[in-house]
Symmetry: C2
Subunit: 139 residues, 2 copies
C-alpha cells in the first residue's frame, strides 16, 4: 500500500489520482501550488523510479502543468523535485506570477503558509479538475 | 541552429551534448550545479516539448543526476525548471549537502556566484564526465 509522508499529508489536500501520481494541493493560498506524489514507496530521487515510471512522471507533470496554466493564466510554471526536508519523492508544480510574493525567486522556505479559505479552495480545485479533464479528453 | 540565451552562455561552461540536451556547468563553485538545455529554440515550458523530447529530457536528467551524485557523494539531487528570469527552457540539476550555504532551502537567488578556479573546475568536469561515461556504457 502506498504510504504518504505525514508532513505532506498534513500540509496538502488530496485532489485526484493519475496512473502514477497522486495530485495534491499545497494548503498555501499564496501560490497555486500542486504536489505530485509517485505512488511508489521508499524512493527519494527521480532516477530511482523505473524508466517507465519516469516517462509517466514527465507526462503527468506536463499534463498537470498545462492544466494549472489554463486555470491560473500564470506567467510561468515552476516544476521541481527538491526533497531536502521531506525525503519521500515528490514533485512540485507551481504557478508563478510577476506580482507574486517572491517572484522571480523560488517559493520554498519563504515566510509562512496562508491556508486556503474553503470557498476559494473549492473553486480552484473545481476549475483545475475541469481543465485537467478537458486536456485528458482531447489527448 | 540552436541558439543559447546570452545570460546562460555567460554564466556557465559547456561540458557535453547529449541527444536532446546540452550539459553546462554553472560557473558557481558554491554548488555542484549543472544546467541542461534542450536543443530546441523558442520554448519556455517543459510541456511545450514534444512527448518524445519530454521522455528524452527525463532520461537525460536522470542520467546526469546519477552521474552528479556519484561524482559528489551528495545528500540529495535537486532538479528543477524555474525559468522566471531567463525564459529559454532550461533544467537545473544541483548536488546538495547538509552543510551547503542554503540547505535545506533552494539555491536560487541567494548571494553572489563564486566562480570556479581553473584546476578545481577541470577536476570536477573530468570526474563527472568519467562517471557519465560509465553509466552510459553500463546502460
Amino acid at each position: 500500500m502506498f504510504k504518504l509522508d505525514p508532513r505532506i499529508e498534513k500540509d496538502s489536500i488530496f485532489i485526484k489520482d493519475l496512473p502514477l501520481c497522486q495530485i495534491r494541493l499545497q494548503n498555501d493560498s499564496r501560490y497555486p501550488w500542486l504536489v505530485l506524489l509517485p505512488s511508489r514507496n521508499d524512493l527519494t530521487e527521480v532516477y530511482e523510479l523505473t524508466e517507465e515510471d519516469q516517462e509517466l512522471l514527465i507526462k503527468e507533470s506536463s499534463l498537470v502543468s498545462k492544466a494549472l496554466a489554463l486555470t491560473t493564466n500564470c506567467k510561468k510554471v515552476n516544476v521541481a523535485n527538491l526533497g531536502n526536508v521531506v525525503s519521500q519523492l515528490h514533485w512540485h508544480v507551481v504557478a508563478r506570477f510577476e506580482q507574486d510574493l517572491t517572484w522571480p525567486g523560488p517559493i520554498w522556505g519563504i515566510g509562512t503558509s496562508v491556508p486556503w479559505g474553503d470557498q476559494k479552495r473549492a473553486e480552484f480545485i473545481d476549475s483545475f479538475i475541469r481543465n485537467l479533464a478537458e486536456l485528458l479528453n482531447s489527448d
